[in-house]
Amino acid sequence: MWSSTREIAAGDLVIVWMTRDNIQPLVVTPGKDFNSKYGNYRQADFVGVPYGSKVGSPSGKGFVYLLRPTPELWTLALPHRTQIVYIADIAFITSRLNIRPGSRVIEAGTGSGSFTHSVARTIGESGHLWSYEFHEARANKAREEFTRHGMTNIVTLTHRNVCKEGFTVENTVDSVFLDLPAPWDAVEHAKKALRKDRITRICCFSPCMEQVLRTVAALNEAGFTEVSMYETLLRPHEVTQVPQPQLIGEVSSGLKEAEKRREEKRLRQIANNKARLAGTEPASSTKRKRGDERDARLADEISRRDLNPSDGSPGSKRVRTEEDEGMEAEADITTVSVQVDMIKADENEGKLVADESRMEITTSPSSPTPTSRISVSNALPEVRGHTSYLTFAILVPFSAPSGTGEEAASTIASELAPTPGASTTAAPSEAQDKSSVVAS
């Protein structure tokens, strides 16, 4: 499954990374071109390049990264045939189903093959995955894909409606993953396919709670135990740099200063008025007045900032005074380092930035971020809030042992668990009612 050599060879599948939102799979075919808005390339030029290389386009405009495929990258790049299962669910299901090298697994349906690739990677060549897809065209597409990816020794794909026809293997697999609209119809078939010489596991992946309830009833009826249900999500965080929050002490002393000046100004104005009325203007007044105006402006500025919280952060609205000129240089350093961050952050953004500014960065005194900035993270404002409910259960092999154990067992089971018994009978009949409604 996929190349493990250092360099790309003709016929290899590579993941062409252009931006975070633009990731494409490509089978490197010398003689063909790869054209995108990030440049036009001859695929022959990709051959011999180490995986993970940034490759500039021959015209000098644009570049792409050629990455080694992984199931995770494939999930981001794959052609969607259906809604797909994403990493948070895939990873959790893999662990809970105890899928590991050598495992034998059933998956239905194949869909776009996102889960298939991940499981194939994990079970390796000593394991096997039986994948079933009831949609013929999708099954054929998936089969072609698996062949192209060199997975045929690990994955057997069958076009089949497993709810109606069951699986192709019996007493064989360690775990079953059902991503079907009506998984309860496949539970009995799954039980048949699971091996009986050890604990085996099942997971049903359903977006709706109603589906979960019917699945749970079916699992109980089929003798599965340890039924549990989970929901798992990935919360992506955004990392940003923000200025160290200002201390209120500074704000407070600014305000106090302003108050003091306002009062001084008022008193001076009164004094001036009195003097004017008296007709005797003090000689030094003109000079002092200019200073007063500036103070007043400053006070004004501070109070305005105070009133408008969005401008409250330092540097957002700088008060421009003569004294501040000296600070300008310092501010510029901050500016440049911000710029460095933005350019290096993600090549997405980098692509939009002029070469000159890159030059400037390397020559500017950008080195480490001034201490006034801190790195913070917060969850993205909008995230995927629900994918599906994951219902798990296990099947424990049990043959009633001969001897004393049985009595105790039956005592406990029958005398102390009447309610479970009652609900096992109640739940399935309810489920049957529902299914008959659905059927009719």
Partner: protein
């Protein structure tokens, strides 16, 4: 120095494939009690194991048994119980609307119960008796009755279920037992780490595991004895990795693991080792010879591991460490191949946020992403399906980045198009208030991730303009 763990057992009877299927002599077996608590039991042959408050039993009773069975301790013997379907039913939080606090309902006293227990009366009979004598039992709702019984079972049953040492179970066990010792790594987060790092049979990874060996155990489990793991640790002797004890790995599975410490993993440093040749003409004693041979083997292993590390081309660097992750990456990223994955776990988002900010300054790191996973369990009972009251707060955070080979010659494509657009816009509408460079730049939050892609385009451009002007 192959024995990485203290725990070794006879290899002949222990097949990898069956380690989570059949209980072998020497295994550390996890058992689940009626309360849901999980505890570990060492199952050596011909010995006795004790479960707290439950009593003890002969371990031979468990050896050779399949995992997943329920047992009841009777004397020193174990009785196998059939699996109970809908066990979840018992795990309910039924309403206690009809239970009045403080009312006298149970004439059976603790001393009487104790006497019954001592007389050897079975737990089910004690519970039955309690129910019979309970004055308001019949008034209870079915849910309430069930809960009552469940509570009594938890109290009196001396049953347990053997739990296979799967990655999931061992991680859950440790997470419940001592979350801090595994650095808050919850099973969903661990699973994501494994996937993001593309851990697979045949892969080669550098690992720093200060999480009691949970990450190493998980990786060994997913590699099935094929590939290579080199861990770097902070002690003079190989790290014990206690989580590994619960996995009951076979020696073949562990054989792919070697460890160096922060000194021996330093390429600039030559480890100071005792001489392997002793210059003496006297006939060496057997003991001395074997000691020298051992020393020699250790030295050789150390140097070959070092060489392997320094030769590089690893597929991934995985960190779950108490140390500064950047200082590790700075030193060890050079041993990664192209397109290798770097995955860092931390219980603290601040550490990873800081790391991500640092990595941004280097073009060899592509697309950092910081994620936290969230996991909610539901009670699924007919008519009573709801999320559990309590859920784990966090399984920690993961930072994932892909290592790439930079090409400083490669330039940005959109440059020209973008510049033209900008010029046009400027020329076309000069009345539009041009955003002042200073005001844009001093916007407190400089957003850098995909979520605010468009803002950045705009902002990046403004930055550019303001600095070139």
């Amino acid at each position: 120095m192959p024995p990485k763990t203290k725990h070794r057992k006879d290899t002949s009877s222990h097949q990898y494939d069956l380690r989570d299927v059949v209980i072998q002599a020497g295994d550390c077996v996890l058992v689940q009690l009626p309360s849901g608590d999980i505890t570990g039991v060492k199952v050596d042959s011909n010995s006795t194991a004790t479960i707290k408050k439950f009593g003890s039993f002969h371990t031979n009773e468990l050896i050779g048994q399949k995992y997943g069975n329920a047992y009841e301790i009777q004397g020193k013997r174990l009785k196998v119980l059939p699996p109970r379907t809908l066990q979840e039913v018992e795990d309910t939080e039924a309403t206690n609307e009809y239970i009045n606090d403080g009312e006298f309902v149970q004439p059976l006293t603790i001393t009487e119960i104790q006497a019954l227990k001592e007389a050897g009366v079975h737990a089910t009979d004690i519970i039955k008796k309690q129910i019979e004598l309970h004055s308001s039992y019949s008034l209870k709702t079915e849910y309430s009755k069930e809960k009552y019984k469940k509570r009594k079972e938890v109290k009196y049953f001396r049953t347990f279920i053997t739990i296979p040492p799967t990655l999931n179970n061992v991680c859950e066990y440790w997470f419940l037992k001592d979350q801090a010792r595994i650095r808050d790594i919850r099973v969903d987060t661990l699973s994501q780490l494994l996937n993001l790092a593309n851990v697979k049979p045949g892969g080669r990874y550098i690992v720093v595991d200060d999480a009691s060996g949970l990450v190493v155990s998980a990786m060994l489990e997913r590699m099935g004895g094929e590939g290579r793991i080199i861990t770097i640790h902070d002690s003079e002797s190989p790290p014990p990795y206690p989580v590994m004890t619960n996995m009951n790995f076979s020696p073949e599975t562990i054989s792919i693991l070697s460890s160096l410490n922060w000194a021996t993993a330093d390429e600039e440093y030559t480890p100071i080792l005792p001489p392997t040749e002793v210059e003496t003409t006297d006939a060496k004693s057997e003991r001395q010879k074997s000691r020298l041979n051992k020393r020699k083997a250790m030295t050789n292993h150390l140097f070959s591991t070092r060489k392997e590390l320094f030769d590089g081309e690893f597929d991934g660097l995985i960190l779950a460490t108490q140390y500064d992750p950047y200082s590790i990456i700075e030193k060890y990223a050079q041993y990664l191949g192209g397109s290798a994955n770097l995955v860092v776990h931390s219980p603290y988002p601040q550490i990873l946020a800081d790391l991500q900010t640092k990595l941004r300054n280097y073009p060899e790191w592509l697309s950092p992403s910081l994620t936290e996973s969230w996991l909610r369990r539901y009670q699924v009972l007919p008519g009573r399906t709801h999320p559990l009251m309590n859920m784990s707060g966090s399984g920690g955070y993961l930072l994932h980045v892909i290592r790439v080979y930079d090409d400083p010659e490669a330039s940005y494509t959109k440059l020209y198009r973008h510049r033209n657009k900008k010029t046009k816009a400027d020329a076309g509408d000069s009345s539009t208030p041009v955003i002042e460079g200073s005001s844009t730049l001093s916007t407190p939050v400089v957003s850098l991730d995909e979520g605010s892609y468009h803002n950045e385009m705009q902002m990046t451009e403004d930055v550019k303009l303001s600095t070139t002007m």
